[in-house]
Each structure stands twice: as C-alpha cells, then as structure tokens.
C-alpha cells in the first residue's frame, strides 16, 4: 500500500465514530449518508465525508440511486477485512556511499548556530534562522551523536574543504553511519549552512 493511502486510512480509522459506522456498513446491505448520520447522531456532512473517503480507498462501493427524480448515493461494504501494509524498506538509500566524495565545508555567514553537547566533543543541535524581520523563525534540528560528531569536525568557512569520507574518518565514525550523515549534510546544504565545492 502506498504511504499516502495508508496515512489516509489511518486518519479514517482514528475517528471516534468510525467503529460504529463500520458496524452499520457490515450489518446493512447498503446505507446512505443521511441514514448513517441519523442512526449515529452525526452531521450528515461528517457521515458523507467518511463514506466518500472509504469509497476512494475502495473499501465501500458507492452507487448513485434516484428517489423519484432526486439522485443520492448509497454505500455498501466491498471488503470485510482491511489490511495495512507499508514497505518501509522502499525508503532505504539505494547507494548510501554515493556522494561521499563530495568536498564540503561550512558556508561563510550562514545563519546557523551550533550548540555544543555536554561532552564537549560533539554538537547536540543546530539552530537555523529562516526569514527576515518579523517573519524570522528558528528551526532547531536535534542531532544524533554521530551527526553531532561529524559536524564538530566540519571544516570552517574558507578553509580547505574535506570529503565526507575524510570528515567521517577524522570524527572516528564507521561506515554504518553514512546514511544518517548524508541525510543531515543534504539538509544543511539545502539550508545553505554547508557548501559543496565539487
């Protein structure tokens, strides 16, 4: 299942009236939004949205019927079981070593503030100021210990840049951390805190 679809389903299931509505759907051959709303003392719009969302997710069938000349929809359950499966391995970096040879260093006059951890040999967070004047906002990123150690060894602005591999080595970090390091490096490049020289 796509993540977006799963998230939508999760939101539907989280509604406090969802269980009662499902009970109606299971026990009725079909039901309209107004029938369901009156049965559960809900607003008709709430019941309508809920059922339409289920129809989009193909959990119920939505059929247009006519009462005299007035059309409306009736819903009947299409599936008696709902399974949510999200494959998280799809997010895994396909090639975590890609980009490790990039030469990086801190960008001059960036708007970031690094906070030293209690141990004194790594950073615990980096705070980036975004926007100007009244719109100025603080964006604080808490760092994992390997990320903090990595950034602690990041070359200063205008100094000789180093490859990510070189900094990892200097910080005494193993290869298993490359993905999370690349993640924070990419974020700080995007935030213009780190610059890439090649």
């Amino acid at each position: 299942m796509e993540y977006e679809k799963a998230a939508r389903l999760g939101a539907i299931l989280a509604k406090d009236y969802s269980e009662d509505l499902f009970k109606l759907l299971v026990n009725y051959q079909d039901i309209s939004a107004s029938e369901a709303a009156s049965r559960l003392s809900l607003h008709i719009r709430t019941a309508q949205d809920f059922l339409d969302n289920l129809a989009d997710l193909e959990i119920v069938n939505k059929t247009e019927v006519f009462e005299k000349k007035r059309p409306y929809f009736r819903y009947n359950l299409a599936k008696s079981k709902i399974t949510v499966t999200v494959d998280l391995s799809a997010y895994e970096n396909e090639n975590p070593r890609e980009g490790l040879s990039r030469l990086i260093r801190e960008r001059a006059e960036n708007r970031a503030n690094f906070t030293l951890a209690r141990t004194g040999d790594e950073f615990s967070s980096v705070t980036i100021w975004e926007g100007e004047g009244r719109d100025r906002q603080e964006h604080k990123i808490s760092l994992t210990s390997p990320q903090g150690k990595f950034l602690f060894h990041l070359p200063f602005p205008k100094s000789r840049p180093m490859s990510i591999t070189g900094i990892l080595e200097k910080a005494g970090l193993g290869e298993k951390y490359t993905s999370e390091i690349q993640n924070i490096v990419d974020e700080l490049i995007r935030q213009e805190v780190i610059e890439v020289l090649s």
Binding site: E106, A108, E109, N113, F114, L116, T119, G120, D121, F123, F152, H153, P155, F156, P157, K158, S159, R160
Partner: protein, 271 residues
Amino acid sequence: MFFERKTKPKNIIRWIWFPILVLIIFFVIFALAGPRPAFYTLGGLYLLIVPYPFMIFLRTRNNGYLAVTGFVLAACLMMISAPQAIADKSNPGLTPFFLVIMYILMLVVGYLTINRKLRWRGEEVFELAAMPVEDIGNSFSARPRPAGKVPVSKTEMIRFVEFMTQNLIAFAFREENRVVFVPTLPGNDLPYLFGTKKDYLNDTWVAIDYDGNITVNITEEDYLLFKMDLDFDQLCQSLGDLFREFLELSKQGQDSRIIDRMNALRLSPIN
C-alpha cells in the same frame, strides 16, 4: 624579535583615566574644603579599590597582586592618617610608618609591573596564536573546532592549570572530563574574579580533556580584536597548537620558556 602586531593597539586612556580622575577629585576637594576632607576622600577611594587586587590574588594566587593589595592598603592608611600628622607635626603617629611601607611596596609593584608579572597575558596569547596565520577575508564561524591532541596525565594537567592561572594567562574551569581555559583579556576579568560569571560559553576558550583532545572556540568579539580578517580555521588551529606547546613545555618543567615567549613580544607591561 621583530614581528608585526596583529591585534589592535589599546587606547592609553583605558588605564590612565582612573588615576587622573582620582587626582582631579583630590585637588577639587582640596581647593573647596581643605586638606583633611581631600585626604580622607582619597583614602576612601583607595579603600574601595583594595578588594580588586586582593580578589585577583585569591583567585589566581599571583603573589604580585598581594603586593598591590598591600600597596593600596598602605596608601589608604597613609591618606587617612596624614591630616592628623599635618595638623600636629610634633605627633605624626603612624603616618611615617605607612609612608615607608607604601614607598617600599610601590617599588615592588613597579618592579613587578616592568617585568610583566602583573600583566594579564590573554593579549599576548592572541598575538602568538595569530603570528603564523594569513589574512584571507572574513571566515568567522561561531562554533568550536577540534584542534588536535596532546597526551596528558591528571597530575600534569593540575600543574598546568596552576601555572596558567598563577601567571595570569588564563582562567581555568575544571569540568568532569576536561579543563577549559579562558584567556585573560583585559576588561574580561572582573566578572570572573568576583564570581558573577559562572560559565565561559560567551568567551573565547580552549578546552583540553583528560584524553588529551583539544577544542578551541573563539568568539566574534575577540576575532574582531585583530586588525585583519585572519583565516579563522588557521587561527583556531594555531591557538590550539599554542596551548599544546605550552602544555608540553609545562610537562617538561620549562614553564619559564612560556613566559619568555610572551615577554619576547614586548607588548606594553601595563594592560
């Protein structure tokens, strides 16, 4: 040794304004109210100053500042006893005794000053650190930087801390796993001496942990003490290297060479 100064020269007014102000107050009161109130006022002013050198002595164990305390105290007592001696010349009381003590201590303080024993050494530390560093344009970053490693035992560190503090090179903050040195720049000392500043986070510092890792942090304010835009990376590294060198010399019992290096810069004995 010839070298090009890289820190901005200090304005002479910084250290002469106080004696001049004291003299002006003395003469104004002398002219308006006579000698007795003038001497008492001067004595009172000296009394107000006494805690400052005494605090420096307590915090640093620098004996020179004990002599300064004695001098200021003797001057204070002399000023307070002088009006009585002037009024009744046949019974000068303890005034001559205080005067002799004051002159002796003045000579001692003068000798110590000329020999830079009373000088806060932070400025010299900065000069030495900046010596090999090039001007490449503003490259400042407000974050600490690792600056190498030096093998050190706890005993050696304790000895080094004592040396650095006693010789007014840096204030030391002992932490669980490291010692943080804050170079003593003139004007930055008061909050540390009187205990109103409990941490060093907004100052320039060099930390050495018990595994020997050196970390350097230079504040923007202190970076602006330099006349040019020095390569910040090199500057931090150089400051770390300097402390490593000092520590190595201290371990070898060659503390005097550290002082000699700073004296060789021939900066003004007063700061």
